[in-house]
Amino acid sequence: MLQVKNLKVAYGGIHAVKGIDLEIKQGELVALIGANGAGKTTTLKTLVGMVKPAEGDILFNGQSITRMPAHEHVNHGLVMVPEGRGIFSRLTVEENLLMGAYVRNDKAAIKQDLERVYELFPRLKERMKQLAGTLSGGEQQMVAIGRALLSRPKLLLLDEPSMGLAPIIVQKIFEIIRMIAAEGVTMLLVEQNAKLALQTANRGYVMESGSITLSDTAENLLANTKIQEAYLGE
């Protein structure tokens, strides 16, 4: 579904991503783990066109999307939940969710999807008329994920969904992530919480200062002593 070849990204002379290769197959849940500043977020931003790569190619379903403007990615089903959630704090919860359906015109289906998101997150239904900025961090993350679902993603990129959330909320969010994966949405999950990410994913990539240093099944990565020492705190 997604192929990344020799991707290089530079910010004003600093090489944030130094020629990585990634592949994600239909239906997979892939984790991208690594320390702070390893280049994970930059990689995601490049995949959705928010950052232009210096070199390399990104293929989505066989088609090059390397130079595609950011706002066209969602049309192809490439959707990102940004780091820090990126909710529109002065829009209501419902308006935030509807922004996810911005490029869609199938009103009846949008309404159905909206109801589904409310079923998934009953808390959001209670607060649909509230300004999103007044919600707790966990609820905001629910808005961000619900909004992404309204875009009907084929490939969903999640950037640090656990960031800044209480453990019990993190559990809830990851439950939802597994549920979405079970429905057949392909996902790339970027997480600093490597253990949780690898427990959830099928496969994983390990990123270190701009390069992919390891790629294996999630099971093998969890069993890898080096990974355990470096990222799993064992």
Binding site: M50, G86, F88
Partner: protein, 309 residues
Amino acid sequence: MDIFLQQIINGLVVGSVYALIALGYTMVYGILQLINFAHGEIVMIGAMVTITCINFLIGHNVNLPGPLLLALGLAMAIPVTMLLGYLIERIAYRPLRKAPRLAPLITAIGVSIVLQQAAMMIWGRNYRAFPAILPSDVVEFGGASITTLQIAIIALSIVLLIGLFLLIERTKMGRAMRATAQSPDVARLMGVNVNNIISLTFMIGSALGAVAGVLVAANYDQAHAYMGFMIGLKAFTAAVLGGIGNLGGAVLGGILLGLIESIGSGYLGDLTGGFLGSQYKDIFAFLVLILVLIFRPSGLMGERVAERA
């Protein structure tokens, strides 16, 4: 004659026009954090094009009722100013989107001067009379009077304000505009073409500005190539007073400024013992601007503007 009531009426008339123009400043600021100082010139060009168009129709013996002639003039002026607003953003501001904030600000002043000079070349430096096509019946009530034109100005302003609010608050496009104002990057992820939204913002603001320009010209029976400077500065003051970036604030600021100016000038002679007459009414706008900037830079309804600026 009841001077106080009269000044309130005058203030509402002028204030509703300020509100229409202030919206143009505040909408652009909300999305780009840019003060589009050329907006006053858009107002002026809206008035000039309308006058030219009406005179052309009259000159060719088009016999239509006054309001219809005015509508035809506006139908010409609105697209012209919308195109101009689009071009200004496209040519002057967009290339500077990532530049330091001072660069687009100076560019805005430059654009303003260019448009003013261009208008002088087209329409000359003299005052242009607004064609006497509109009925000016006077309605008396409570010791004050208001012309039918002034009633029409207030009514039309209210209709436009309601229309704009419905557009911004109730439509998908308006939602995208608000989302873009808060976070262009995330809006892009949702599939919003941010450049189009910015163009649209300039065009809507320009259309409102054109109508405001015509209303001012009709109210004072005249227009001239440099009228945009003062009215632009006052509407900008209104936007700052209300809290720049806040649409409701722009309306509130406009109305308040109109009232302050009108009531203030009505009593200026009494206040200064005849030393200053009502021709000094402009000092009130700038007094308000200075006081707001000193004591409440975020404006009456604004938030977080100070930290951004």
